[in-house]
């Protein structure tokens, strides 16, 4: 009787296609990932169990920590328009180059008069610049103007369809009166609904 010979199969598979796919995906993820820029005012946010993600655009973040207030707007066009508006309000002119630079930078915490020097700095120097915070006193409330003008800018740019969302990113150790003050500034402009930026944690604490 003829013996049926089993064909000896090779155990190695062709990995080329798999490798191609893997690297394609890898390239995609690397390119879409945004590099994390060190914040000008690092804060330790408290954590909560509520998980809703913040939007990427049309968002203003007010950072409160160490007694200082910093401000950040997401979205380049909104930033440019806001800077233009703020310049007009405070009698300052920002060149095209300065506007473009401002559109690309992150949060800042200087009075409007000191903004030009911050714009001129390199990204790495901005974090070291020891920015003193945006004035929020009742006499010189620049945060109020930043908010008002950036909200207007968002509405103008979107043709009235979108509203600027406000998020407060507070340091866990910041005392309540200061947070209350920011909330009061927001409520004075009839912003009664906003987000609090928090970290993540489980329910079991």
């Amino acid at each position: 009787m003829a013996k049926i010979k089993m064909k000896k199969k090779s155990t190695s598979t062709d990995m080329t296609a798999m490798c191609d796919v893997a690297f394609l995906l890898l390239t995609f993820f690397i390119l879409t990932a945004t590099a994390k820029v060190p914040e000008a005012l690092p804060v330790d946010t408290p954590s909560s169990t509520v998980q809703s993600k913040l939007p990427d655009s049309d968002l203003a973040i007010i950072t409160v920590g160490k007694g200082k207030v910093f401000f950040d707007i997401k979205g380049r066009e909104t930033r440019k328009k806001t800077l233009e508006g703020m310049g007009a309000k405070y009698g300052l002119t920002f060149t095209e180059d300065e506007q473009n630079k401002f559109a690309l930078m992150d949060d800042f915490g200087v009075p409007i008069t000191g903004l030009k020097s911050i714009i001129e700095m390199k990204a790495a120097d901005r974090t070291k610049a020891n920015q003193g915070g945006i004035p929020i006193d009742s006499l010189d409330n620049q945060l109020k103007d930043w908010l008002l003008i950036s909200r207007r800018a968002t509405i103008d740019l979107s043709g009235g369809t979108k509203e600027l969302q406000i998020a407060i990113k507070g340091d866990a150790k910041e005392e309540y009166p200061r947070i209350k003050k920011i909330m009061d500034i927001l409520q004075d402009q009839k912003i009664n609904s906003f987000n609090l930026v928090t970290g993540m944690r489980g329910k079991d604490f």
């Binding site: 155990t11 190695s12 990995m15 080329t16 798999m18 490798c19 893997a22 690297f23 995906l25 890898l26 993820f29 690397i30 879409t32 990932a33 945004t34 994390k36 946010t45 408290p46 954590s47 909560s48 169990t49 509520v50 998980q51 809703s52 993600k53 913040l54 409160v64 998020a167 990113k169 507070g170 340091d171 866990a172 150790k173 910041e174 005392e175 309540y176 009166p177 947070i179 209350k180 909330m183 409520q187 004075d188 009839k190 009664n192 609904s193 906003f194 987000n195 609090l196 930026v197 928090t198 970290g199 993540m200 329910k203 079991d204 604490f205």
Partner: protein, 186 residues
């Protein structure tokens, strides 16, 4: 796995002719794929996890017009007042401070402290409302953050509201003299 069988085609027989070895053109890609997938996982997770989380907070409209101030009367049996004090401490009581139903008692944050109490009182209030003939009216929590409390305390207590499902709460940073006394007592 790797095709490394470089056929030694009897090179010795051919009278000293040096033959270059026939190399297999296949390379083992396993390690490379491993690495690639590891990096993919890393980038996938970091891009989605680096987005900040947030908590929604809606405050009632500030009424600058004093004459329009609405005088909503609430049943004091349904209210629970939570005072956030200095050094991460907290005091709570049910009902009015002059005649509290429960407390005032110091309580800790977390699942064994305020959360258990909130859930218990929530049940009590629901039972009370049902007995009075208007079921569904739940507990009302009044959060009173003192000047010495910090932002973490506020977020923690708001988080407890979200966990325990208490949806009627108010942040009232106004204190009567008696309340101030209670808040300063340790």
């Amino acid at each position: 796995m790797a095709e490394l069988n470089t056929g030694d085609g009897g090179g010795g027989k051919n009278g000293g002719k040096v033959r270059s070895k026939k190399q297999s053109s296949k390379v083992d890609l396993t390690a490379m794929v491993d690495l690639a997938f590891l990096l993919i996982t890393f980038f996938m997770l970091t891009t989605s996890l680096s987005k900040p989380q947030s908590m929604d907070l809606s405050l009632p409209d500030k009424n600058p017009d004093e004459t329009k101030k609405d005088e909503t009367k609430v049943d004091e049996n349904r209210t629970m007042t939570v005072m956030l004090k200095a050094d991460n401490k907290m005091t709570y009581y049910m009902g009015l401070l002059e005649a509290p139903k429960v407390g005032p008692k110091d309580i800790a944050y977390g699942k064994d402290g305020i959360r258990r109490e909130l859930l218990k009182q929530k049940q009590n209030v629901l039972a009370y409302s049902a007995a009075k003939g208007n079921p569904g009216k739940g507990i009302i929590v009044i959060i009173k953050p003192t000047k010495k409390s910090n932002y973490r305390n506020l977020v923690d207590i708001l988080d407890e509201m979200a966990i325990t499902g208490v949806d009627t709460y108010a942040i009232v940073p106004e204190f009567t003299p008696e309340e101030t006394k209670l808040a300063e007592k340790n």
